[in-house]
Symmetry: C2
Subunit: 326 residues, 2 copies
C-alpha cells in the first residue's frame, strides 16, 4: 500500500481536542506521516493551528461521545467523530482510524459501523506485552469480548497471528491461557477451544500456557477471552504499581544506604513500571474490522496520540488487515 | 474450641515425606501446637524420628496420590493419606487437615470425602493477598471452581467473610471482580452475581472492583470465579518475577552506581517479591467443607509445612468453619 489515509478522532480522550491537535502537529513535525496522509475527524480547530499545516484534510464531525455514552448509543450518533471515522474506514476513505475516546463506544462503532471482516465473528483487542526475552508477547483478547464461545478463539488466534506478522515474529506460537497445563484443566470453553485450535493445521498451536509464564518465551500469542484478558492486563498494572509503592515505603523507612540505593535505581524502576503499564503503549489494535482501528488510551497526551498515529500509519502501510487469514 | 486435633498428610508435597516429618518436628519444637494436638496421617516415619516425640498420634495410610492422580481417581484411593485425612475431618476425628499434595485431588477429597457444609454448593480456595495498607485482601475463589454459576458467588462471599473474621477484619467489604465499574460491564454471570449479592442484606457489598485495585483499600474481599481468580494470582506472581528479572538485567548492564543501588536495595526487593508470591504463604484454605482444610504449596519445605500447621491450628481454635453463616 503506497498512499495511505490515517484518521484521528478529534474529540476522543480526556484531554481532547487540544491533546489531539497537539499530537497531530507533533506527528507531522516528526514526519511520522505527511500532511496529505492525515485526516482530522472533527472541526474544532483554531485558525491559528490550521495555519501551521497545509494540505491537512478536515472532515466535519461533532463532539457527541462522552465517557458515559453506552456502546449501543453511539450507533445512533451518526454525526459523532467516532461514527464518522468508522464509516470512513468502511468506505475505504481511511486506511486507519485512531481514537482515544470511550472504549466501549469505539468497539461498538468498529464492529457495527466499520463492520467485521468477512469470516470474522469477533474482532478483539490485540496488544503487545513486554517479555524477558525482549520479544513482544501478544495478548488477544485484551478486553473486547467479555462473553465468548469456543469458536471465537479461532478468530482471536487469527487476529493475533496477523499482528505477530506486523511485529516480525516468524511462525508465531499460539497458546491458550489456562490454569494448568493438563488436558482436563480449565473450563469447558477453554478445553473446546483447545481442540479447535489443535485441528487447524495453519496454526502453530502449542497448547495451554499459564499466567505465570506471561513474560516467558513459551509462546508468542496468548489467546484468552476478553474478561480474563482484561483482568490479566489490569493485574499486571496493579502489581507493578504495588511493587513501586512498597519500594517507596521501604525507602522512606530505610537508612542512608537504602535511600542511596533507591536514588541510584530510580530511573530503572520507573522505566520498568512504564514498560509494564499498558496505558503507556502507543495504542491497542481492535483487529477484525474493516480497516486498522487503533484505541489510544483515554488519558493520552500529545506524544501518546502521535505514537498512536505512527503505529496506525505503519500498520496501514503494512496492510495489516490483509494479513488476517480467513 | 479447647482441644483440637490437626492432621498432616505425610505423603503430600514434592519433598514428602521428609519435609513433612521435619515440618512437624519444627512446629512442635516451636510450640505451634502440642504433640497431643498433632496427627500424622501416614506411617512411613523412622524409629529415630518417632523417638523424638512422645504422645504423637499416627494414623496408618498409604502413599498413593501422585501429581498425576486425577481428581476423580483419588476418590477410589480409600487407603491414601489424603482420603483418610479427609474422612477423619468428616468424622470429627480431626478439626483441621493440612496437605501439600496434588491440588485437584485435595479439592476433590475435600468436597466429596470430607463433604460440603450444609447449605454450601461450592467450597472455594480462599487466600489473603498483601496490600498497600498492610491489611490483608481476601481473594475467593483462587482456583477451585473453573466453571461457575452466578449463585456460587453467594457461597464464595460467605466463605470470604468467614475468613475475614478470622483475620479480624470488621464488617468486611465484599466486591466482585469485573473489567469496569459500570453496571453493564462484564459477562452475564458477573452481572447476575452482582444483583444476588446486592439483595443479601447480610453482606457489605460494595459493587464491582477492578484488578488494578487489587492492592488498594477499596474492598476487603474480592469475589471471582476460580478460573479468573487463579489467572489473577499467577499474573501477580509472573509480574513480580518479571520485574525482578528486569532489574537484574538493568543491574548487570549498569555502571557502578546502579550496582551499588542494587546492593543496597537487594533485601527489600527480595522480601517484596516473596510477599507477592502466594507460594510462599503458609497455606490456602479450602473453605466450605466439613472441617478446616489447608492446602500447602507442593514445593513446601519444613518451615512452610510448620507454618501451614500453625495456620490450621489457629483456624481450628477460632472455629473458622462455624463462622461460615448459612
Amino acid at each position: 500500500m503506497n498512499s495511505v489515509k490515517i484518521g484521528i478522532d478529534l474529540y476522543g480522550g480526556d484531554n481532547a481536542p487540544s491533546s489531539v491537535v497537539e499530537g497531530a502537529l507533533f506527528a507531522l513535525k516528526n514526519k511520522f506521516l505527511s500532511p496529505e496522509e492525515l485526516v482530522i475527524v472533527g472541526n474544532e480547530i483554531s485558525k491559528e493551528d490550521l495555519d501551521k499545516i497545509s494540505n491537512l484534510q478536515i472532515v466535519p464531525a461533532k463532539n457527541l461521545v462522552s465517557n458515559e455514552t453506552k456502546p449501543t448509543e453511539v450507533l445512533k450518533m451518526k454525526e459523532s467523530s467516532m461514527y464518522v471515522g468508522c464509516e470512513m474506514l468502511k468506505n475505504n476513505e481511511l486506511n486507519a482510524f485512531v481514537s482515544a475516546g470511550n472504549t466501549g463506544a469505539l468497539l461498538s462503532s468498529g464492529t457495527f459501523v466499520a463492520g467485521r471482516l468477512p469470516g470474522i465473528k469477533r474482532p478483539a483487542l490485540v496488544l503487545a506485552l513486554p517479555s524477558k526475552s525482549n520479544k513482544p508477547k501478544i495478548l488477544v483478547d485484551a478486553g473486547a469480548n467479555a462473553e465468548v464461545k469456543a469458536e471465537h478463539f479461532y478468530d482471536f488466534a487469527r487476529e493475533g497471528i496477523a499482528y505477530a506478522k506486523f511485529l516480525n515474529l516468524e511462525n508465531p506460537r499460539v497458546g491458550i491461557l489456562n490454569i494448568g497445563s493438563e488436558d482436563e484443566k480449565g473450563n469447558s470453553i477453554v478445553r473446546e477451544a483447545s481442540n479447535l485450535l489443535k485441528e487447524e493445521k495453519k496454526f502453530n498451536y502449542v497448547g495451554y500456557v499459564e499466567a505465570r509464564e506471561l513474560f516467558d518465551d513459551t509462546c508468542d500469542i496468548i489467546v484468552t477471552d476478553g474478561f480474563t484478558g482484561n483482568n490479566v492486563l489490569k493485574t499486571m498494572e496493579g502489581t507493578a504499581y504495588f511493587i513501586l509503592h512498597e519500594l517507596k515505603e521501604t525507602i522512606k523507612k530505610g537508612g542512608l544506604f537504602t535511600k542511596l540505593g533507591a536514588l541510584f535505581l530510580r530511573g530503572s524502576l520507573k522505566s520498568l513500571v512504564n514498560k509494564i503499564d499498558y496505558r503507556s503503549y502507543g495504542g491497542t489494535f481492535f483487529l477484525g474490522v474493516n480497516g486498522v482501528l487503533v484505541k489510544a488510551h483515554g488519558s493520552s497526551d500529545a506524544e501518546a496520540i502521535a505514537n498512536a498515529l505512527y503505529v496506525a500509519y505503519r500498520a496501514a502501510k503494512f496492510d495489516l488487515i490483509e494479513k488476517i487469514e480467513i
